[in-house]
Symmetry: D2
């Protein structure tokens, strides 16, 4: 996302209760990690290994998470934390499944790494919100 759009989103959030001090750098990193994870999971889901359904679930959840961060006007801090929990839970399932055959498949290995990066970014976001709260 370009700098100007990020500034506008930041401005919009100034007027949302409980979101005035949201860390926009962490949020940007979280959106990027969700987007990368959606893409990796989508590719991995076509490799016809048994992680495929988990990858599809994870791709959809990551896309929903990213979009929701682009639409914070329709979120509350509590709902956001619940969504972050669900996103981390789906990334965990997908990572675990993909790690089972990371030795056999480079795609699965990369997908697992993307899931891990997404979980970390969601956790950093959630930690930051809990410190704010």
């Amino acid at each position: 996302m370009d700098m100007m759009m990020k500034d506008m989103m930041s401005n919009d959030m100034m007027s949302m209760p409980g979101m005035e001090s949201m860390d926009m750098t962490l949020m940007q990193a979280c959106m990027d990690a969700c987007s990368a994870c959606e893409q990796a999971c989508t590719v991995c889901s076509t490799q016809m290994m048994d992680c495929s359904p988990a990858c599809m679930n994870c791709a959809d959840m990551c896309n929903t998470m990213m979009r929701s961060m682009l639409r914070m006007q329709g979120m509350t801090p509590a709902a956001m934390m619940s969504m972050l929990d669900a996103c981390m839970a789906m990334c965990q399932v997908c990572m675990d499944k993909c790690m089972e055959h990371a030795d056999m498949s480079e795609v699965c290995k990369m997908c697992a790494q993307s899931c891990k990066a997404c979980m970390d970014a969601c956790m950093a976001m959630k930690d930051s919100m809990m410190r704010m709260g």
Copy 2:
């Protein structure tokens, strides 16, 4: 979903640890409620009232929830409960926003009712899973 597809999904779940005794009737009702809520939120999001971003978030979360229930091979009971929590949280935000102008807009009123029905169906699903566990 037709009866035969439901039977097959039910059979698939027999071999998934922790999901053998999932209540397929509640799950079917939950998928239907998610689908109805996605549609109501999508219509409501075009009415240009201030609930619009919440409706879009809720539509995406409901679609992701429904799809995940159609792909239980890629879920665990723990991830499913976390997703149900997130779905209920988003429905709550959307319902609260839409109720603010339910008197002025029939669409918002219907959207709020769909959100409530979806929350109830998710809660029934989660309660049933907790009794199983």
Copy 3:
């Protein structure tokens, strides 16, 4: 979708150029067929047969088609016809792939039938729009 929501959508369309005489019964049937096809494709995509990537593509296209019909304020007749063409093309690919093993898999057979029904509903919608135009 309930009757009242359908009436409202119909009213909204009265004020959209080129859409005043859209056949709402065909449009409702088309949305239902897209939704059913999204669900059948989502289930079929988990069966780990070689139709899986086509099913995922088809599920996403059907969902996008259905949502766009719920948001006609953001469409033009020309864009709608182009989307219908794309949806029919994806359903054709998915149906062809699933028919290759319809004998071996009841899920693939049902998925192919849903794709066919969705193509037919999209074609009926497009024919009706061309007669209007």
Copy 4:
């Protein structure tokens, strides 16, 4: 998408009839433009201007287009060209709508630019495929 994933996708396509000589650089650029357009449209859809439904339609179509390019195993050249047409048509509608108030809104202006970039990338992709065919 990282280089290794791109190489694998390229390898996968070697075995798909009619896709052996697909230009992976153009396809990568097209996926990036779709992803950027989905994000810009999602932000723009929350600004409560009358482009909002068009932005939502465009965001969904761009996401579906991007995902389909990540799952070329489930595509044919003909279906891909039809999808590219639909994506260009939706970007055109969204761009036209957003340009109506580009003077009043920086977000709409950026969204229109993202739509234009996405149309250009889709057209480059389609041109390349027609030369191949």
